[in-house]
């Protein structure tokens, strides 16, 4: 693999930037690096799974609006109860988990209903924008 000369900017009189690039190139040739496209695919997949996909985007009176799946989803799936303190931490986390489970049992049906409603609103908005664009 070849690295273009402008890739590195190092303005130090004691370090030869060109020699550094040559050394990096040489090392890259002697080892097997992961295909960049493969890594990009991994990131895309994880992103899509966790963050979701964009639903639609439009501009109205100079202001842009973009709606993603998770903007509709108000259930905090990513909420993690963690601890950092060595002894009191696990006890604290255990109590918080109990409280969380109880609150979740109470709130989840309402949040799910609201999420469903939000998605429907976004779908309707999308349709309105499509119709207006056609007109």
């Amino acid at each position: 693999m070849e690295i273009d000369r402008e890739w590195l900017e190092i303005r130090n009189e004691y370090i030869d930037g060109q020699a550094l690039i040559d050394e990096i190139e040489h090392r890259l040739k002697t080892r097997q690096s992961t295909d960049a496209a493969e890594l990009a695919e991994i990131v895309r997949g994880v992103r899509e799974r966790v963050i979701g996909l964009p639903l639609f985007k439009f501009t109205w009176e100079g202001e842009s609006f973009s709606f993603w799946e998770n903007d509709c989803d108000i259930v905090p799936h990513y909420y993690v109860i963690d601890w950092r303190m060595p002894i009191l931490g696990p006890i604290n986390a255990f109590i918080r988990r109990l409280i969380h489970a109880e609150v979740k049992r109470y709130l989840l049906p309402a949040l799910t209903k609201q999420t469903h409603f939000n998605r429907q609103v976004v779908q309707v908005l999308d349709k309105i924008v499509q119709v207006q664009t056609r007109e």
Binding site: M1, I3, D4, E6, W7, L8, E9, I10, R11, N12, Y14, I15, L20, E23, I24, R27, L28, R31, Q32, S33, T34, A36, L39, I42, V43, G45, V46, R47, R49, V50, I51, G52, P54, E63, S64, S66, W68, N70, D71, P76, H77, Y78, Y79, V80, R84
Partner: protein, 355 residues
């Protein structure tokens, strides 16, 4: 004459907040009466900060109010700024472009959009705009601001003259650690840090650790994505430290071998200066104000080639002499941001403005 400061809020450990406190010290040393006013009152600054409702008793056309702008102001603040008769200067810390928050946080998207719109409106309210970098000044000028100047962030070593956290030192000392410091935010491209670390770990330094130090507030979804990516790539040596105390921060710097930045948007980037102070060579993606803050120091790369950056980090770890040369140059650059140097600049800007 009085010179007061206003900021939407201040927070413990935040670079902009530290800057506000340092500017207040400077103003008082220069003989001005100086107070700090906030819209949202913080919890850790009792006696140091006052609500804007109390500003009326100090307000005067002879006074100067320095307003710090980082994301957006509330409508209440915007109308308050329009009403007060004081002369006004804005210190611009920059707004992260809204596109970075799309899909992550709708509230941040809107706040960033509002902030950018307000930035245009504020040009008619403020008498001058001082960016913390020339990069920020260019943004102000593109929005039609006049009287634009640079007043960089102050680097105050006194802030780091405390004992480092033993717990952090005990865990990370004598290991090969790559460090990044900054709140968890999509513009800082943590996924690229993780991918570079993946290459580093796989082919260059299997013993390496990646230490990511920064608050996660409001960014839980992005954080969940990063954790899932770490899991998918099977990288147990990526450590998210979260928000840390000053003594913990110092310990992380002391344990690190290289500072790596993949960030695509920074208005200034204080951790670059902190790295110089703690003797860490900086390897950074050339974007936004990063090259300006580094001056001619550090190592910049123009394309995110993860494997090549990993090799570069490996080479820096091997060639101690190179590392020392880079750090020496970074420390030289640090002199441009000392308290005394910035105080001179502030004094010059004030005399220019007030005359």
């Amino acid at each position: 004459m009085q010179i007061h400061q206003f900021s939407a809020t201040v927070a413990y450990g935040d670079a902009a907040s530290n800057h506000i406190l340092s500017v207040q010290r400077m103003l008082r040393e220069l003989g001005y009466q100086s107070r700090i006013f906030c819209d949202l009152m913080p919890s850790h600054f009792e006696g140091q900060v006052e609500p804007i409702s109390r500003y009326a008793r100090y307000s005067s056309p002879d006074n100067l109010l320095i307003c710090h702008f980082a994301l957006s102001y509330s409508p209440v603040v915007m109308s308050w700024l329009r009403q007060i008769p004081d002369r006004k200067v804005m210190i611009y810390h920059n707004i992260t472009p809204d596109r970075f928050f799309e899909g992550i946080d709708l509230v941040m998207v809107k706040a960033a959009q509002t902030g950018r719109r307000q930035l245009g409106e504020l040009s008619a309210i403020m008498d001058a705009g001082w960016g913390v970098s020339a990069y920020n000044c260019a943004e102000l000028e593109s929005l039609g601001w006049r009287n634009v100047d640079v007043l960089p962030i102050i680097f105050d070593p006194a802030r780091y003259q405390i004992r480092p956290a033993c717990r952090v030192l005990a865990r990370w000392k004598d290991k090969f650690n790559v460090l990044f410091v900054g709140r968890i935010s999509p513009n800082k491209c943590f996924e690229d840090l993780i991918l570079t670390f993946y290459e580093l770990k796989r082919s260059v330094r299997p013993d390496a650790n990646l230490l990511l130090v920064g608050a996660t507030s409001r960014m839980q979804l992005y954080m969940a994505f990063l954790r899932a990516l770490v899991e998918r790539l099977d990288l147990p040596d990526v450590f998210f430290a979260g928000h840390v105390t000053n003594s913990e921060l110092i310990a992380y710097y002391q344990c690190a071998d290289v500072y790596l930045s993949m960030s695509e948007h920074e208005g200034f980037c204080v951790p670059l200066l902190e790295s110089a102070y703690f003797g860490l060579p900086v390897v950074a993606y050339k974007a936004a104000a990063i090259p300006e803050t580094l001056g001619n120091s550090g190592i910049l790369f123009t394309r995110k080639d993860y494997a090549a950056v990993a090799e570069l980090i490996g080479l820096l770890a091997e060639r101690v002499q190179w590392k020392e040369q880079i750090v020496a140059q970074q420390r030289e650059r640090l002199q441009d941001f000392t308290y005394e140097r910035i105080k001179e600049q502030l004094q010059h800007l004030l005399s220019q403005f007030l005359s």
